[in-house]
């Protein structure tokens, strides 16, 4: 970007004036004037036209000229304009921002309108308006670089002040566009944190706990299975013992007849019980199939009768579907041709004729229901007969079982009364019967234990299945955790790679800037002093004492020189990068002007001279606004010979003519 002209209309104290900027070999434009003549306003004119921002310190941010407002009549509009022409990449541009101030109807206040920005490119036939002017200007001179190239010189010395590392670091990052990389690192940091949290959530101890629970349940199952086996062994032993006793009783003369009768009775008892079980199964089959009919038959028949009655009374029977009526009503015309306006009696009549349910569906439903009711009646009759037969049979079996029970009880009693042993030292039938009875009670208890154990085992196996399902779910989540872990690590690695690159590039720029600063500073400042940008991004000024360097107490002169040298180094880096024409990764560089207000601050004469010497070196094009008091003497002596353009701000406070303040810009060379 190379500045050409700046034109101001009704912008603060400038009513209608312009400046042409020097370029080329004599690249400095010097503008001087008394305090309050408008130097800061000129700097603000740049920030307003380029970024629509102004900063007049404590003064009002009103842009419109005070005199023009005073002269305006109520409802008059006063236009405020700033126009900047410049060259960029071999093309000439004209940017103009304007805003209108309107004096209110009572003439007491003014209202600012919306500002508009236009950007035109010069072509052979004239000027061509550019789309998205704001975006285009930011491409030409990015917002982030504006504080480096348009600044108040009195603030710039802060760069070389105490604890200034952050500012230096940011300036270096800005010139290379490295801020984007730093934001990426910060973003990746947050992404990595999120993935880490996700990983920790899913890879919690949950799965471990599930496995522990599963192992516990398996151990429990093993334990219960062992107990079950033991009980079954015990059952077999008891059964064997019962059988042994039965065999003995069948062999003993005294008891063998009774015992045989008892065993026969027991066999018949088993058979009857089996018959009862089978009969219950048959009953259940009948019930599950048709028991509902016992209670549903009346409602089925009643409903079938209702539907039949509807049909016989022609309440349902029609071939006309509801859709047919819908079509007629939509068409608003009856099949007889009568108009069916809504609302009308004819419309309502046709609507009343429309059946609520589709006739075909209802007919089918009715037929099926009537058939179902008829079948149900038959089925229920069959059920009734079968149930009666089964219950009669069941009664017979139950009676048989009761008889067998009585017989068994009688035989057992008789056996228990045979208390004489066959041989001395042998057990009597009574003793054996008592022992068998005891064993049978034991068998019953063992069977109950087995039943309980089997039931408990079933429950534990159910629990195990549940835990296994949970393990499966947890493993799926674990897979998610592994994905999260991989993403987390990828984010960390990417972040590390970008950070590494970022630090390398930052250090590269720092070294380049350091070389420039050293060179520029040493050419101007005292010979025993050196300026450098340290590894920690500190702009230091040191004094050479023999082989040792010590940091000096910075005077404002040295810090101003070092700070300007640093700015100059950034401009140079940007220009070099631009001229290298290499494919830049982050920043393609550029040629930028430096526009600075009051770069001499409160420097003494010697330092003003040194700063004045450095100014032409700072960039391809430099515009400097200074007060008359700073201008006179060393600055004027150094700059007049090299300034390509020189202006004076002639300020009239209007006091003498009872007028409003106004500044005119007068070209001197």
């Amino acid at each position: 970007m190379e500045l050409e002209t700046l034109s101001l209309t009704n912008f603060r104290q400038f009513v209608d004036t312009d400046i042409s900027f020097a370029a080329g070999q004599d690249n400095v434009t010097a503008i001087h004037g008394q305090n309050g003549s408008g130097k800061t306003t000129l700097l603000n004119a740049f920030s307003w036209i380029l970024y629509e921002e102004v900063d007049f310190d404590a003064q009002s941010n009103y842009l419109v000229n005070e005199g023009k407002i005073a002269e305006a009549k109520p409802d008059d509009q006063i236009p405020v304009q700033v126009e900047l022409t410049f060259q960029h990449d071999g093309t000439r541009y004209r940017a103009m921002r304007e805003v209108a101030y309107t004096k209110d109807g009572r003439g007491l206040d003014v209202e600012m309108g919306e500002s508009t920005l236009t950007l035109e490119k010069q072509i052979d036939s004239g000027w061509l308006s550019q789309p998205s002017p704001k975006k285009r200007i930011k491409q030409i001179i990015p917002d982030r670089l504006r504080s480096l190239f348009f600044f108040d010189g009195e603030d710039i010395e802060e760069l070389a002040g105490v604890n200034n590392q952050q500012q230096i670091r940011e300036a270096i990052q800005n010139i290379m566009g490295l801020i984007i990389m730093e934001r990426s690192i910060s973003h990746l940091d947050s992404v990595a944190d999120d993935f880490e949290k996700e990983y920790r959530t899913h890879a919690s101890q949950e799965i471990e706990e599930f496995f522990e629970e599963k192992d516990k349940l398996k151990r429990h199952i093993d334990q219960k299975e062992t107990q079950l086996e033991n009980k079954k062994d015990m059952r077999d032993d008891v059964k064997r013992r019962i059988q042994e006793i039965s065999d003995i009783l069948q062999e003993l003369d005294e008891s063998k007849d009774l015992e045989n009768d008892l065993q026969n009775a027991r066999d018949r008892m088993d058979t009857a019980e089996k018959q009862l079980d089978d009969l219950n199964d048959d009953l259940a089959s009948l019930l599950t199939k048709d028991a509902t009919l016992a209670f549903a038959l009346p409602v089925l028949q009643e409903t079938a009768n209702d539907l039949e009655e509807f049909r016989q009374n022609d309440l349902l029977e029609t071939d006309v579907s509801p859709e047919f009526f819908d079509r007629i009503l939509d068409r608003r015309e009856c099949i007889c041709g009568r108009s069916l306006d809504e609302p009308s009696i004819y419309y309502e009549r046709v609507q009343d004729l429309k059946p609520e349910v589709a006739v075909s569906d209802l007919s089918e439903t009715m037929i099926r229901l009537i058939h179902a009711a008829e079948h149900a009646a038959d089925d229920y009759r069959d059920l009734q007969g079968s149930l009666i037969t089964h219950l009669e049979r069941r009664q017979e079996i139950t009676t048989k079982i009761e008889d067998r029970e009585a017989e068994i009880e009688r035989l057992e009693t008789e056996l228990s009364e045979l208390d004489v042993a066959d041989q001395p030292g042998k057990k009597s039938p009574a003793e054996l019967t008592a022992e068998r009875e005891q064993a049978e009670q034991q068998l019953e208890a063992v069977n109950q234990d087995i039943g309980r154990l089997e039931s408990r085992l079933g429950d534990i196996r159910d629990d195990l299945q549940e835990v296994e399902r949970e393990v499966e779910t947890a493993q799926e989540e674990q897979e998610q955790a592994q994905v999260a872990k991989r993403r987390w690590l990828a984010a960390e690695q990417t972040k590390a790679a970008i950070r590494d690159q970022f630090e390398k590039m930052q250090d590269l720029v720092r070294k380049l800037a350091n070389d420039r600063v050293q060179e520029m500073f040493s050419s101007i400042a005292r010979k025993d002093l050196e300026a450098s940008i340290t590894d920690e991004f500190e702009l230091r000024i040191e004094s050479d004492v023999g082989e040792h360097s010590t940091e000096v107490n910075k005077s404002s002169g040295e810090t101003q020189i070092a700070s300007l040298a640093f700015i100059g180094s950034l401009v140079a880096i940007a220009r070099e990068r631009y001229e290298q024409e290499t494919e830049a990764q982050y920043f393609s560089g550029g040629i930028y002007p430096i526009v600075m207000d009051s770069p001499f601050g409160a420097l003494d004469k010697e330092h003003r001279r040194q700063v004045a010497k450095i100014i032409p070196e700072l960039g391809n094009q430099v515009a400097v606004f200074v007060t008359d008091s700073q201008w006179e003497g060393p600055v004027q002596e150094e700059m007049e010979p090299i300034a390509g353009a020189q202006y004076t701000l002639e300020f009239d406070d209007g006091a003498a003519t009872d007028d409003y303040p106004e500044t005119t810009i007068v070209k001197e060379t």
């Binding site: 009953l283 209670f295 409602v299 209702d306």
Partner: protein, 144 residues
């Protein structure tokens, strides 16, 4: 309109377990549900609020022609609205209420303490069903 993937909620109290899982009087909870619904309707026992944490697919009812017809008939008699014949979802909502009422009655009739309830259910059916033909009347009296 109900979808066959819709689920019916019902009050599955202990008597379902007793008559289905434990003694297999009914093959399934669906058979048991329909029995209770019919019992509930016949005895005018309708529970509008009941535990409904159990459910089964609507299709188990609609795919049985008999159950589907019973559902239509009970719902129609309950509402006196022909439209309900074409709305299985609404029919089964009404059935659920009668099934809850029927299950309560069954809980009082059939108890685990009395052992296998199969015969008791058969007698219950015969006792409360429609009057039998004359020829089986006397046999029935003997049985009951």
């Amino acid at each position: 309109m109900a979808n066959t993937r819709d689920r019916i909620r019902y009050d599955c109290n202990d008597v379902y377990d007793l008559l289905t899982d434990k003694y297999s009087v009914f093959n399934s909870y669906v058979d048991c549900f329909m029995f209770f619904a019919a019992v509930g309707y016949a005895n005018d026992l309708k529970c509008e609020e009941y535990g409904d944490d159990h459910k089964f697919l609507l299709k188990y009812i609609t795919q049985s022609d008999r159950f589907a017809q019973v559902a239509k008939a009970i719902a129609y008699q309950d509402t006196n609205n022909l439209d309900i014949l074409d709305d299985p979802g609404e029919q089964l909502y009404i059935l659920g209420q009668y099934a809850a009422g029927g299950a309560k009655l069954a809980s009082n009739e059939f108890s685990e303490h009395s052992g296998d309830p199969t015969a008791a259910v058969a007698r219950f059916v015969l006792r409360h069903g429609p009057d039998p033909d004359d020829e089986v009347e006397s046999d029935l009296q003997d049985i009951l």
